[in-house]
Amino acid sequence: MSTHDHDEGPSRRKVLECMTWAGTGVLWTVAGGVPTSLGIIDQALAQQSKGFTFLQISDSHMGFDKPANPNAKGTLEEAIGRVKALPVKPSFMIHTGDITHLSKVSEFDDAEKIISEARLDVHYVPGEHDLIDPEIKLYKERYGRGTKGPGYYSFDANGVHFMGLVNVANLKGGGMGSLGDEQLEWIEDDLKGRAASTPIVVFAHIPLWTVYPAWGWGTEDSARALGYMKRFGSVTVLNGHIHQVMQKVEGNVTFHTARSTAFPQPAPGTAPSAGPMKVPDDKLRTMLGIASVTFKQNEQRLAIIDTPLQS
């Protein structure tokens, strides 16, 4: 780090906060991963009930029927069952893309039917699997009304500014996910004039940090987008695409990816390529799940609890 950067570096106090948070985050991840420890889960749920909570689901891949999970419909139903069973009703839900596997009308219909059972408002962004119908119009017709470009938009809820971004459209050969100039300009514009104390939640399909470039797990122009968010005290980035939980904290930004409700993918570099990973039947549901996100006033970081379909 050059001395020039020093002013922007985290203060000692911030580093300590961050470390404390990381410790808690690990505890909560463990809590999500081991539902048999009911005490810890109750504790997590009690924490959850004190703030404003929304849910994230991702990568439901309606229509997927390969060996990694021949019944993706069934596991989405189970995930929505989990949502319905929550003791405190979340304010709304976000879906971070790959609603369908092949952008077929019947797949969008099935997803809609199951997800609407949760009786929550759902804010969507598309995954690359949702933009492959011949005319690339089904996603936007259903979920993108009033959005810009291929489907980006923003809204406010409980004092938090939410931005749904699209990094799966018009991708260039040899690259990764991409937001594109037009969307980047919109992001800059959308944030202009907002108080730096406004918590920002950004959600998009492909991770907005470089998880693993060899598999294309990243967004090539995300640095520019994150640059516009530098002055904000709390930025939370929620993604899907990689079908596994991953988390990173960098300065004011917390990055988090959610599990899929359809099938797991290998950890970066542990297989010849990305793609549906076949695991023993009794393990599948431990690798699928949902995430709940709680925002509490005066806390920089949002609390994220990942809950698998089965312990």
């Binding site: 390969k66 690359e128 492959i132 040899g174 690259g175 294309g216």
Partner: protein, 119 residues
Amino acid sequence: MFKTKSLTSFVVAGVAALLVLAATPALAADVAVKIGNFTFGPQELKVKSGTTVTWTNEDDIPHTVVSVNNFRSKALDSDEKFSFTFATPGTYKYFCSLHPHMTGTIVVEAATGSNTPPR
């Protein structure tokens, strides 16, 4: 007995395969590119003009085959194929528009006599 018979049919099949392989370049017949493990194989391919290249998706995830301004497949589900006949010599770079880190190249040479790549 059984052993001899299966060995014979194996040899016959092998010879037939060799004949097909040998015939390929001369006739500018179909050439296959396999899409597997998120890669195009072979990644680079040299063919004579007039050759039809057929891509087959062997992954459990859809892929596309896109060469900007030249050709664009629909999303290929598992085991689906896409073919393109290369009439004009040149270098064709292509990629998967869903997973753009997947790239490949087809180099098309003039079918007639000389091996000099056309300009």
